[in-house]
Symmetry: C2
Subunit: 248 residues, 2 copies
């Protein structure tokens, strides 16, 4: 169980209030999660953080990582989970903490998982959510705006229970964020080259592909296959170009 | 679902920190619970309470009840749930939030349920826990001391999910706290009279009986039966006394 929990990090994106960072850390500590990552904290006053991070939570705060850049923070992770209170356009890909927790038990055996929580006032942006493999919403009755640390404890609580109760089955290594982003860049280049996507608005087309591919947690091996196909298309496209040039 | 949630109250016993009261209220509001009861709050500065009770939670704070006496606060409730981080002597009767939530769905159809949370620094006393029908502990990994509002949201979250998902079966009306305490007093008097319990230490014996009887949520009808038996024993004991007197 410890190994599973050790592979899961809580990433607070632009947290605004230091007491919430401390309370989130305490919640993680209660539930056996130990990796806390902050990205662009607005205020990280340690006195205020430690006011709410009581007991043995101090160790967790001492080892917490702080980044200026989200992409850099997420590079080592293979599976990204986004949390949001907003539904709507993203609804189809949305899950809930209990289902997520069960899925993570096997994924996290061999993969590093990051669970992202957005800023207190507005949550994660649509753009940030788009990069996630899974998006979850904590079920609520009407008033859906949860305090940041409250959201953290519910997700961590579900993960702790799932880890404690579930028999684990091992999953192969998933592609990490660095490998995935490289793949999407490669796909965009190639699909532009062959005229599959509109050069006026390539991000729109790539978004559809992202949505499709992120419905499954992609394995490292699968990313290599997709990039192999990209290289092949690239080679074929150059052949076509060469022929066209020779005809002129 | 609404009826079920409306019958469940969160009772904060001697809360110390006003921000925790507000955060607990917000957590309840997130999960559709609307009845907040405070007993002997150390500090109930509304400015500080409202700092953490955002959004529509103000309504809930406006309707919150405040009592000086726990017994008085609990009188209208039929089923009492105590929360504790401490295990040990009370372990045999202990449950967890998920199991509790499932049980409460049917109980709360026809009964008022109070869930008690103790003060931040020391939790509910053994004596307070003894009066509860069910005692729950939130599962944690090692560091078991949860922030008060964090404990509240986990319990409310489980109740909300259970209410949302479970098909309800109706339970008959349970005895309320007033009826139960009357019964225990009656039992003590009668058992003292017939020499079943040691007059030097009647509370010790009554505790064993409490433990036994509180393993099941007693129905109002069952309490009437027990008191009927008590009355009968009482009557019989008086007969014996009368005979003994006449012999002297």
């Amino acid at each position: 169980m410890k190994a599973v929990l050790d592979h899961i990090a809580v990433v607070l994106v632009r947290p605004q209030i230091p007491e919430n960072i401390g309370a989130a850390a305490r919640a993680m500590n209660n539930m056996g999660l130990r990796r806390l990552v902050l990205v662009e904290p607005k205020n990280c006053d340690l006195c205020r953080v430690l006011k709410t991070a009581t007991g043995s939570t101090i160790d967790l705060i001492e080892r917490m990582e702080v980044f200026d850049d989200l992409k850099e923070a997420l590079a080592p992770y293979h599976h990204l989970v986004g949390t949001t209170a907003r539904t709507g356009a993203l609804r189809p890909t949305m899950s809930q903490p209990r289902t997520l927790a069960r899925d993570l038990i096997s994924i996290s055996q061999n993969n590093r998982v990051a669970i992202l929580f957005g800023p207190e006032d507005r949550g994660l942006s649509n753009d940030q959510l788009r990069h996630c493999n899974t998006i979850i919403t904590i079920p609520t009755a009407g008033f859906s705006s949860l305090n940041l640390a409250q959201a953290v404890i519910i997700v961590c609580y579900e993960i702790f229970l799932a880890a404690r109760d579930a028999p684990a089955e091992v999953q192969p290594r998933l592609a990490n964020s660095f490998e995935l982003e490289g793949m999407y860049e490669h796909l965009k280049d190639v699909l532009l080259k062959i005229g599959f996507i509109d050069p006026q608005n390539p991000e729109h087309w790539i978004l559809n592909i992202r949505r499709f591919l992120s419905r499954l947690p992609l394995r490292a091996r699968e990313v290599r296959i997709i990039r192999g196909v990209c290289r092949q298309i690239d080679w074929y496209a150059s052949q076509v170009e060469a022929v066209q040039k020779s005809k002129r």
